[in-house]
Symmetry: D2
Subunit: 350 residues, 4 copies
């Protein structure tokens, strides 16, 4: 039995936590602005949660960085569980905006000028979350802002931290590799599968069947999708150009189509949760945009960005797992799925 | 004392309500798609709430349609209260999307084709909400869709209902008139107010002071805002061009600036709540857009719209109280507000 | 390609749905009470969602009613998924209370008397949800109320529907059987497992080891838990007395302890989700209780119950999966779990 | 224009905030428990929000501590606004529980023993919130726990901080005084009001009328409420016995009944929001109770309390504004309210 003697406030280091709110407007010479306390505390709460998200993502990275992800260990199950936790946290952060909404534009005005050129843009942890997931600097909206140290961008050290995170293996890249190398896709099946309609490609009899079924499901107007399908998914192509490779997308599509087999259930949930995370981040950016728009109207942001305008751009541009989400374009109905060979089905179960 | 004999299921007409789910995929000859039930029920729940929103908005209209809104009656207070209820409902509807998110794209595919060309686009009640608030047909994204009866648009009757709602006095117009005619703004004050710096307009000494203070608060880069301010707010101009008139915006700005006086508290909350409603509708459209994007990827919507693409356009275009929200561009700090004359202050209180 | 011609309002039967709100206070001779519309619509929305919950639970029942639940089919995965959907719906219903909170007690008073003796107590669907999950009549708080047809109870027909649902196999009973008959627990392992410390029972060497480890983890004050453990879980006893049998609880405990093995992941999530459903129902009942307390204070409920007092009792008494939730009393740390034999581990994976 | 040079991470003191997570299980000699990070961060987030709540409550106290609350200043309006913010924060904190729910009982077990005897019971700030609002030590569930320094209670210093907060004027007491001294209730009206039915008390003609109307609205079974009404509200009695005095409750009841008059709108919202805060605290305690019950089952809490059992007691016992909430017992319908004299009505408006 343990005999330590913990005290809740000490254990949580509350002395430090609760001594870190120093509103600028409360300093001598300034007029105290009541709502600056809320402004500080809500952003600190955001940052605490960002730390937790980074902690969960770091775990996910350690698993997918292993040379081989073991389906039978607890690893995948915990990845799924912890990514779902990230989802819950992001839902909370979306709700949290409603508290900041109790600060009216005029309340903000009372201390707004004191903040210049600081702004939420400079949340290093949020940038690290984006970078860890796989957002690249050159794909960021107005990526030139990031380096302008004295005008609302990052300090050199912080910028280089973001850069080095981006340069290390991102979750996007790790998931891409995991999908490319899934042992299942190296099995006999892919060679022995007997296509019912051998359209145009000797090597992918399964995908030929799928292609025919997908084509059948399209309306006239949607036929151009077929070219995208071939170019982006079916075609053998190895370079991934900073996104998912064709090989990885084929794996992902197969998993999504045959998710009901036990062996794919957890993998499917992981892919689905990554898409959900992307969408919740988009939702958060949109709420943030609406909030800033309400708060400062058409004025310049404290960080010298164009304010609300900047944020609207980020909403549309910062999707990370777009390729995965886009796979729903290529689904076919469950009951029309090519029936897999008996032995394979056995392999896919317990 | 009452002696009726109500029974909850009868009172709520549950026999009808709970007998109104007829999934097409459950009909003979089709393959039952389990999730079509959820699809139907969630949309029916949305429509119930839309009815409630329309009911609250109708009340608000009756009040502002009165020749004179009486500040001393319960009217304004109930308007405030009921608009806040609309806010709570919209928050719920935003959360409700999370239930539909439990339907995966592949589950949707099982009955998606049966729906053609029906789609949420055809929610007449949602269009009526937009129209009642003040969204005009020609400002709607892809307004040509609305009339195409057999291709996902509305029936003639429904279209004409939307049109006639739009033609009747909208909440935007009624609020505009209310702001224009507020008795307060006809008082002696506006003539007798003594300006400290008489810039350029004999008639608006108060606004001259305000103008000078606002100018002082701008950074170099923001100076062009001054022209907008003059053109859109300070200038005497009566035509409102399907939005708020300059006169109304001046009233609104004054109310927002001096909201702390009892006489303006309720009015301020009403204006603020209208902005919030606009933003929650935007949030809902954005969630809807993300959800459809996830559900059908880049495929055509069941209603023959471009699907997700259509919805993204609506998110950006359908703001109704943009002019009101934009007033936060023109705020000045509370402590710098021109001090009002003593007698006026008395009038503004109890 | 399909060539039907669906119209959203027709498909959703909105004509019926939106024509089912008949506030009693709007009838000739009464004084219209504005908020009765909200009262009706929110309860109808609740009932729509109750129908959806019953629909999902019915699916779950069909799966567990099968003579053998096939781990390799999509069945278990869909059960998990659909129970999680029930969780999302219940979360929504919890949030939905916040809309009713916009009705003040005095607004309610305007039509409250017209409702007598109807009340939410008479929500047959809610009673069916409880009964389907496994709540028995005699365990219900004030179960004598249910039969009093003219004083706020149910009609004979409705009462007998609730009764017959209760008499049919409930989810609690089906899950109990499923746990009792899990093929895994009939394997060689249970006989061949070599106990390190053979305390007192030849037949359960694995549980002996577990018992020793659990004992070690208890503080002095918690030692009485050991008797409960033996009596309620370890002891061979077949009768389940309207709850889970010892055999079933042993299976459940094993699954919870060894959840990380692929073969148990989905089963664990199903058990965990049932507990979550129970807790969300408790949360809902508590919110409901608080709301009624706020609404009518200490007055008698419209349904002649003691009002808020009745509801408080139900909060504490209506837990259904208490036995499952209680298993967290008997957990031991993951790293201290008895290591399973190599061959078994193989069986538990892919 | 300002020329400071703020940097977001410095402004928010993130170096301190993000360096305050030291999981005990991560220390040398221990087995790292992944979820301890979540446990620490979520409690720190709670504490940040508690600080914000205390900050808002402190503002409310300064206003009601003034010798006279000026209805015409911004004071009351800001009190209302900031109490509503507390509501939003408490709603967030209720939602936040869902993130902790992603920690399973077995995850908690991995570091649970390290915490002894620390527990959430020791959240000093939460106790200060309760004390500031008006919860007294002797009314707290198991108030003997609080002093047991080495067994999960508070240190002497912290205990004495809670005690001195309790001894200072609480919000309950301040609101009580404010209600007792409202100038309105000293007006001529109360003497000159002409009762239509002079039942039994020469001094309260208005309340006599009200009494008759209330009596009329009661069912046979509810008649005993009349005695409570007389004893607790109508009777002239000055001592408040650690709650609201009869005089204060009469004021509150009048405000609730006649809330639609401009002069009472803000006051009504303040009273209503205090009740909502009480209910949200109860909701939070209940969620907390359910969560702990799920987490540790029937085991002893880390703080040596009886765990879940302790929390259930607090849910029922810690209501602070019970007297205010109870006033809904005594409402009568708006349309039956005694009509006030014309001159008074004028006074109550603008």
């Amino acid at each position: 039995m343990v005999s330590n003697n913990q005290y809740y406030p000490t254990y949580l280091q509350l002395e430090k936590i609760l001594d870190s709110q120093k509103p600028l407007s409360f300093e001598p010479g300034n007029e105290p602005a009541h709502d600056e306390m809320l402004f500080i505390i809500i952003h600190q709460a955001y940052e605490l949660w960002f730390k937790q998200i980074l902690f969960e993502l770091a775990y996910v990275k350690t698993i997918f960085e292993k040379s081989k992800v073991d389906d039978n260990s607890e690893d995948l199950n915990l990845c799924r569980h912890r990514l779902k936790r990230v989802v819950r946290i992001l839902e909370l952060l979306n709700n949290q905006v409603s508290v900041l909404d109790t600060m009216t534009p005029m309340d903000f005005l009372e201390f707004r000028n004191l903040l210049t050129p600081a702004s939420g843009f400079q949340s290093k942890q949020f940038r690290l979350i984006e970078a860890t997931l796989g957002l690249e600097m050159q794909k960021r909206h107005h990526h030139d802002y990031y380096k302008r140290t004295n005008e609302g961008g990052f300090t050199k050290d912080d910028f280089s931290d973001i850069e080095s995170t981006e340069k290390s293996a991102t979750i996007l890249q790790l998931i891409n590799k995991w999908l490319e190398r899934m042992p299942f896709f190296n099995t006999e099946f892919w060679k022995s599968y007997k296509s019912v309609s051998d359209l145009n490609d000797q090597d992918h009899p399964f995908w030929n069947d799928y292609y025919a079924l997908y084509k059948e499901s399209l309306s006239e107007r949607e036929m151009p999708k077929l070219d995208d399908l071939k170019e982006r998914i079916l075609k053998e192509k190895n370079e991934s150009e900073n996104g998912f490779s064709n090989t990885a997308l084929r794996s992902a599509l197969f998993i999504i189509l045959y998710r009901d087999f036990p062996v794919f259930q957890t993998s499917f949930q992981i892919l689905d949760t990554l898409i959900e995370i992307d969408h919740l981040l988009a939702g958060w950016r949109h709420k943030h945009y609406v909030m800033v728009r309400r708060m400062i109207g058409m004025r310049v942001g404290t960080g010298n960005t164009s304010g609300a305008g900047y944020l609207e751009g980020a909403v549309q541009q910062h999707y990370i797992f777009k390729d995965l989400a886009g796979l729903s374009t290529y689904l076919i109905e469950r009951r029309k799925l090519p029936r897999l060979p008996e032995e394979l089905i056995k392999e896919l179960g317990f």
